[in-house]
Symmetry: C2
Subunit: 241 residues, 2 copies
């Protein structure tokens, strides 16, 4: 489905959807603009059935339909980002079904591009999880430190489980981990709000300054810059606070 | 423009093109299917002016038109992958022009997804250049070694300067560097031909086996897998020779 709403679907995607018998959608690996599926239904002239996470992971409902019908599963962003999608494709192929992925815009390259950073310096991406009692993972902190040490940019996804994580929450989490680890001294970050939309907002600055700024609305993604080329530096200065 | 042909443009992109006064295109940062621009011209009902690399880099022709008209620059893949595009956007903004990027599918996430590999294990991308007398860069070899040591997957672009580099040429180049460096013993690679097209062909195997196989037609991209999760391993086995 691409990064923001129904208009981010490619013409190839639209054509495939119009030729499908059944159209499912999942909305838990990414968030599209509210109303996107309703408007897409009007465009393709058929109902879209939204599946909860469990039904996508169980695969049964999708595969059962696909035995005799042409079935689509709509996925936010560029598909195949999650193991679930890969497993589903493998299962369908094992059952002798023909499968096809229609690609679209991904938040990974879109975020880097909107910042004006070079995709050649993209490091391993990571995700910050919403912490809860007894669940306070810190592995993404290590990924960011490792990327910075190698001069690479980090694309940091924010948790979507249940609710969208706030950008300030993500920055506070990184600062909290940094209190004991001390590897990200003077952390600077780019906060991207609603990439690809008319309300897109990008803010660049030191962590403490970001916490005081209006960063826009969820969904967010963070980019932690690595070593900057002068054109990258100039590009980022447009968003500096 | 997305990864393969005019159908990979999003509906948002098509709408913008229809509202433009002048449509330029560059074709040197990526290769679209032959005839894509001709078919796109028919879809948007206007001429597309193809600019050589120098004219995109000089910026003058594009910016001069944009002073008084709504101008688009069509770029293969997801735009902003090259410093030239970022510079152009910065120049336009300095002149007080409103700019907008319409995102589309990128070969980076598409290649990883088609392989069935996890985007969370994507390492720094790199490019293999066509060697000539006195120009035999080896830095991409180091990037691949570094990614493998971290368990990360490498997306390896093949040179497009003048002609599309052949996949076998790329593998031979890696093997040649490895003769002296010896860091990629038993190198396995995934060769992807024409990703996103009907002729898409993916081949996975040891470097020496790949050199004997029919790998499809250019344009190619390579993926060098890092540490494999069992679902990734299963996904790759579909393409094993």
């Amino acid at each position: 489905m691409g990064i923001w709403n129904e208009k981010d679907i490619s013409m190839r995607g639209l054509e495939e959807l119009r030729n499908c018998d059944v159209v499912f959608a999942e909305g838990y690996t990414g968030r599209m603009q509210e109303g996107s599926l309703k408007r897409l239904e009007a465009l393709i002239g058929k109902k879209i059935i939204i599946l909860p996470r469990e039904e996508v992971e169980e695969e049964k409902r999708i595969l059962n339909e696909a035995v005799s019908k042409k079935v689509a599963l709509l996925v936010p962003g560029d598909p195949m980002i999650s193991t679930t999608h890969i497993s589903l494709k493998l299962s369908a192929e094992k059952m002798g079904m023909e499968t096809k992925v229609v690609h679209s815009s991904s938040i990974i390259t879109a975020a880097i591009g909107e910042c004006g950073l070079q995709v050649y310096k993209l490091g391993k991406p990571c995700t910050l999880a919403i912490w809860s009692k007894g669940y306070e993972p810190t592995s993404s902190y290590d990924v960011i430190v490792d990327n910075i040490e190698r001069g690479l940019h980090s694309v940091v996804f924010l948790d979507l489980k249940g609710r969208c994580m706030e950008a300030s929450e993500a920055i506070e989490q990184l600062l909290r981990i940094d209190k004991s680890r001390q590897r990200l001294k003077g952390l600077s970050a780019v906060v991207l709000s609603r990439v690809g939309s008319k309300e897109q907002k990008i803010t660049y600055g030191k962590a403490d300054a970001l916490l005081k700024a209006n960063l826009g609305k969820a969904p967010f993604i963070l980019v932690i810059p690595g070593k900057l080329h002068f054109v990258e530096e100039e590009a980022l200065q447009r968003f500096a606070i």
